[in-house]
């Protein structure tokens, strides 16, 4: 060990450095250099004896044992996810033949429920989500979009008193309404925009429909 390394070790013991880089250099040296490790152990032992902390017969240097143990451990590899777990395949194995879509729609929790959390102060929606046994996802900003009643008879959402059950009920109803429509919109989209056109383009119930051109499905099997 050079004098410089000894100096570094001494500085490390006293936690006395002139710069960050000096500190990391010292630690690096201690980790890499066996001599330094040995000196470190002995300095610590001297310190402990001087402070009357060392006990005769106590094995103070456990680093070698730890290193050996680590070497014996098998390498940790993140468990690779089964591509399509069997249990997940079973989810659609359930007989679903006589389930009308309306029924399943009613049970569906809001698709992408995370998108609709934090309505207003978010507490009710989040609460509802958690009650259903769901975790909420990471929230980046505590406040999201705002829900503004258009009607003037409803006081601003922020100032609603928690004791005011009528106002709370009103808010709950608004949230339910918002969720219902947003879910419904997502569900309608799940039937495909292009394909649906074929089925209903003949209808003439709106003016906009007059310019409607049926669009063809575009998915040639490759």
């Amino acid at each position: 060990m050079t004098d410089r390394q000894n100096e570094q070790l001494s500085a490390l013991l006293d936690a006395h450095f002139e710069s960050e880089s000096q500190c990391s250099e010292s630690i690096e040296n201690l980790v890499r250099n066996e001599d330094a490790q040995s000196s470190w152990f002995h300095y610590q032992l001297i310190g402990a004896v001087m402070r009357n902390e060392a006990k005769v017969g106590t094995r103070l240097d456990i680093s070698a044992a730890v290193a050996a143990q680590v070497a014996r451990e098998p390498a940790m590899i993140a468990p690779r996810k089964n591509m399509l777990a069997a249990f997940r395949a079973q989810q659609w194995l359930k007989p679903a033949a006589n389930v009308a879509v309306a029924a399943s729609v009613a049970l569906v929790t809001v698709f992408g429920v995370m998108q609709y959390q934090r309505i207003d102060d978010g507490s009710a929606v989040e609460g509802a989500v958690e009650r259903n046994g769901h975790q909420s996802v990471l929230q980046t900003i505590p406040m999201g979009g705002t829900l503004n009643p258009v009607s003037f008879t409803v006081p601003p959402a922020r100032s609603i008193n928690n004791d005011d059950s009528a106002a709370n009920q009103e808010r709950a109803l608004q949230r339910a309404q918002l969720q219902a429509y947003m879910l419904d919109h997502e569900l309608r989209l799940q039937w495909g925009v292009q394909q649906a056109t074929e089925a209903t383009s003949a209808e003439g119930s709106t003016e906009a429909n007059e310019s409607e051109q049926p669009k063809q499905l575009e998915e040639p099997p490759q």
């Binding site: 591509m83 399509l84 997940r88 395949a89 989810q91 659609w92 359930k94 679903a96 389930v99 009308a100 879509v101 309306a102 399943s104 009613a106 569906v108 929790t109 698709f111 992408g112 998108q115 934090r118 309505i119 769901h134 975790q135 996802v137 929230q139 980046t140 900003i141 979009g145 503004n148 009643p149 258009v150 009607s151 009103e170 109803l173 309404q177 219902a180 429509y181 947003m182 879910l183 419904d184 919109h185 997502e186 309608r188 989209l189 799940q190 495909g192 394909q195 649906a196 056109t197 089925a199 209903t200 209808e203 119930s205 709106t206 003016e207 906009a208 409607e212 998915e219 099997p221 490759q222």
Partner: protein, 347 residues
């Protein structure tokens, strides 16, 4: 002498005040004029005066992306960021040896939301419902379905411009700006891999540049051979629940939309019961090729409460004389409001 000097001072002061006022006015109108010019310039740049080569290149990159999304075999993961949430997804697409196309998108955090597509059939696995399947050639997911389509499906309403390259997911990407020809809807930035044409990211923003939503791939692995997972899904497909058909009820009343934003066309109209025990309503689905919005018109006792909400989706319920109109879609709230107010009974 004293009096006259005072008078002079008064007149001087009032003239300074007048000048200051005039100057303020000038500055005010000048600024307004400057703003107008900036906006005009923006509009101009957006329309014809963009370098045609940039537009042609943009369309070419869009086409490459369309090909990659319909032909590549890959596994990827991505993150969606909105103003109030972050979610992570796994994304896989592959052909099978039999020639089918399989796509899977699932959430990685929270309850499992899984969407799997085999050619023109999609199965949705949601935590609170039984799996169900629909007939559609695209999944409903954070990746806009329009990006899988040929550019001609959206070129009436949007323009693609290629911009400088950027490094995304440690890959060399080209950035496309997908600009609406109208300022009243969202704009998009797309990142496309130069090597494979794969979509590496989508950012949705307002015409003024305000952030709405971002989808960014965090890993992407193309595969030269069909994925084993796709084959497993294809083999399991016989157990998929039968496809649910849409209700075919006609709207109960005749409605007209007097102020529909240009480029949007009606895709479908039905009489429906809104999900989660919502009211019965006449439903109209409109699309400009890129985004969709729904218009729900409910009459009778079960009416909706007037309210509005702006997130990635905007939502508005407006009360009319004897019916309420609700508009939901991935469009700015202002546009939703314009649409909602444009509905009237057909005379």
């Amino acid at each position: 002498m004293k009096v006259s000097s005072q008078n002079n001072w008064k007149s001087l002061r009032s003239s300074i005040l007048r000048q200051a006022l005039l100057l303020t006015c000038l500055v005010f109108f000048g600024t307004a004029a400057a703003q107008e010019t900036a906006q005009e310039r923006n509009d101009r740049e957006r329309s014809e005066n963009i370098d045609p080569r940039v537009v042609a290149e943009g369309e070419l990159w869009f086409q490459r992306m369309h090909q990659a999304l319909t032909q590549l075999n890959y596994t990827a993961s991505f993150v969606t960021v909105t103003n109030h949430s972050v979610q992570t997804y796994r994304w896989m697409q592959s052909h099978t040896p039999a020639g089918s196309r399989v796509e899977l998108i699932e959430t990685l955090n929270g309850p499992l939301n899984q969407s799997i597509r085999l050619n023109n059939q999609v199965v949705y696995v949601r935590p609170m419902s039984r799996p169900y399947s629909t007939r559609a050639n695209a999944l409903v997911s954070p990746i806009p379905a329009a990006l899988y389509q040929h550019f001609s499906k959206i070129d009436e309403s949007y323009q693609a411009i290629s911009l400088a390259g950027e490094r995304v997911v440690d890959r060399n990407a080209v950035r496309l700006r997908l600009m609406s020809r109208e300022r009243n809807r969202y704009f998009y930035s797309l990142w496309v891999d130069r090597e494979t044409g794969m979509l590496l990211g989508v950012q949705t923003h307002t015409a003024e540049g305000g952030f709405v939503e971002q989808v960014m791939l965090t890993s992407f692995q193309p595969h030269s051979v069909p994925l084993q997972e796709a084959l497993v899904i294809e083999n399991e497909w016989q157990h998929v629940p039968p496809t649910q058909e849409l209700e075919q009820a006609e709207p109960r009343s005749q409605w007209q939309f007097s102020n529909l934003p240009s480029g949007f066309e009606l895709q479908r109209s039905q009489h429906i019961q809104v999900a989660m025990n919502g009211p019965p309503a006449d439903h109209f689905l409109f699309s400009d090729g890129m985004v969709n919005f729904s218009v729900y018109i409910s009459e009778g006792a079960e009416r909706s409460t007037p309210m509005q909400y702006q997130g990635e989706l905007s939502f508005i319920t407006v009360e009319q004389a004897d019916f309420t109109v609700t508009v939901v879609g991935r469009i700015p709230l202002q546009l939703s409001e314009q649409i909602a107010n444009s509905v009237s009974r057909k005379p």
